[in-house]
Amino acid sequence: MPLIDLANPTRFLAFTSRFLPWLAAATVLVLAVGISLVASAPDDYQQGATVKIMFIHVPAAWLAMGCWTLMSIAALGTLVWRHPLADVAARAAAPLGAAFTAMCLITGMLWGRPMWGTYWVWDGRLTSVLVLFLMYLGVLALWRTVDDPSRAARATAVLTLVGAVNLPIIKFSVDWWSTLHQPASVLRLGGPTIHPSLLTPLLIMALGFLLLFITLHLAAMRNEIMRRRVRTMLMLQAEAAGR
């Protein structure tokens, strides 16, 4: 089936209903392999078993950022091409992005408790993620506040793109702010100096999370399409009762 056919919501529904079970199965499989690898991975000599929370934290952080990228592309689709599925994709992605960002924050806090002795420090990385979380919540609030889906889609598309332009600036400012206050003595979260024996499980976990995201996103898109159809049907019903 050519990809362009998927642009039609009905075709999209038919295709995903066949495709989703396989995708879900693959997700479970990859995550199961990943978790077993993580369980057998060696503990860190400094951090002990606590390091294993990174296998959830880091993929969640990647997805938190990736999801905004996806939303930005969908926003272009909404504004430039006026594509019907672009709205749906953006709307379905926003709660998922917020959820993965929240997961990243919560795992970061749980990791920080034994490492820093407190659940939260205003570390540059964590703080940028917190601001990203706030922006996701803002997008969700805008979706919920505007009643008409296509108007809401255009408004949030603008907000998403503004966010995409601003996020690097925010990240830079927060980093500058945090290094200003805290010299490099703070333990770094993750970082590039990861031992190869930990890298394989991390990448497999990341793949599992990506599959999970795609599964959930397609399912959420289906729900959104059907929600809009229900809305249209109800409006037709109201119109019919006018006679």
Binding site: D147, L234, M235, Q237, A238, E239, A241, G242
Partner: protein, 207 residues
């Protein structure tokens, strides 16, 4: 619900109304008995809406008096009247049934709304959010309030606006049965509202 004594007459004597420093009307006297309707007509700005709001107790009376003879002594005039203004007093995010149910419970304490919704032809879409309704349907939903809660006096401001011919006939039927059961109607209107042989009170002189 305690039984409410039926009022026998709405009597206005030498009424005057001042809004925003401007004298809208003065020296206005009229009476409406049970089973009677009085149409208030006149050009724009003659004070039709002001008169209805004044009777409902929403605008201060500048001079004169207005009373409902033989009514419930404990209740003031507004509590014995239905005021149907230009605005529909509906919440778009509540369903049709929830909107009517709220007003029924708030104004009366009862909660049987289904017959009233059927009477205005909205029974089939009671579960829809009011946001989906057309202007005429919204109007019909606020009219449903008049029959779900019983009040002896109806104050109707342009009741036929936004209503199509069949809905106007429906409203006329509701008004006739209200009058037949001893109710009173005071309606501000530009045109006929489907009641025969009603008296007319013309405001604003020849204007």
């Amino acid at each position: 619900m305690r039984p409410i004594p039926r009022p026998t007459r709405l009597l206005a004597t030498e009424l005057a109304c001042v809004r925003g420093g401007r004298r809208v009307f003065s020296g206005l006297s009229f009476a409406v008995g049970t089973g009677e309707a009085l149409l208030v007509s006149g050009p724009n700005g003659a004070g039709k809406s002001s008169l209805l709001r004044l009777v409902a107790g929403l605008v201060r009376i500048a001079a004169g008096r207005i009373e409902l003879e033989g009514g419930d002594g404990d209740a003031n005039l507004g509590e014995q009247a239905h005021y149907l203004g230009h605005q529909d007093a509906l919440k778009p995010s509540l369903t049709v049934a929830e909107n009517l149910e709220f007003w029924t419970r708030y104004l009366d304490g009862g909660a049987a709304t289904a017959p009233a919704l059927d009477a205005v032809g909205l029974g089939a879409i009671a579960h829809l959010p009011a946001a989906y309704l057309s202007a005429g349907q919204r109007r019909r939903l606020s009219i449903a309030r008049l029959i779900s809660v019983e009040r002896p006096l109806w104050l109707l401001d342009e009741p036929t606006s936004a209503l199509d011919a069949s809905a106007q006939a429906m409203l006329a039927g509701l008004m006739r049965s209200h009058l037949a059961s001893g109710g009173m109607i005071l309606a501000a209107t530009h045109g006929p509202i489907g009641l025969e042989g009603v008296r007319e009170l013309r405001l604003g002189g020849a204007g």
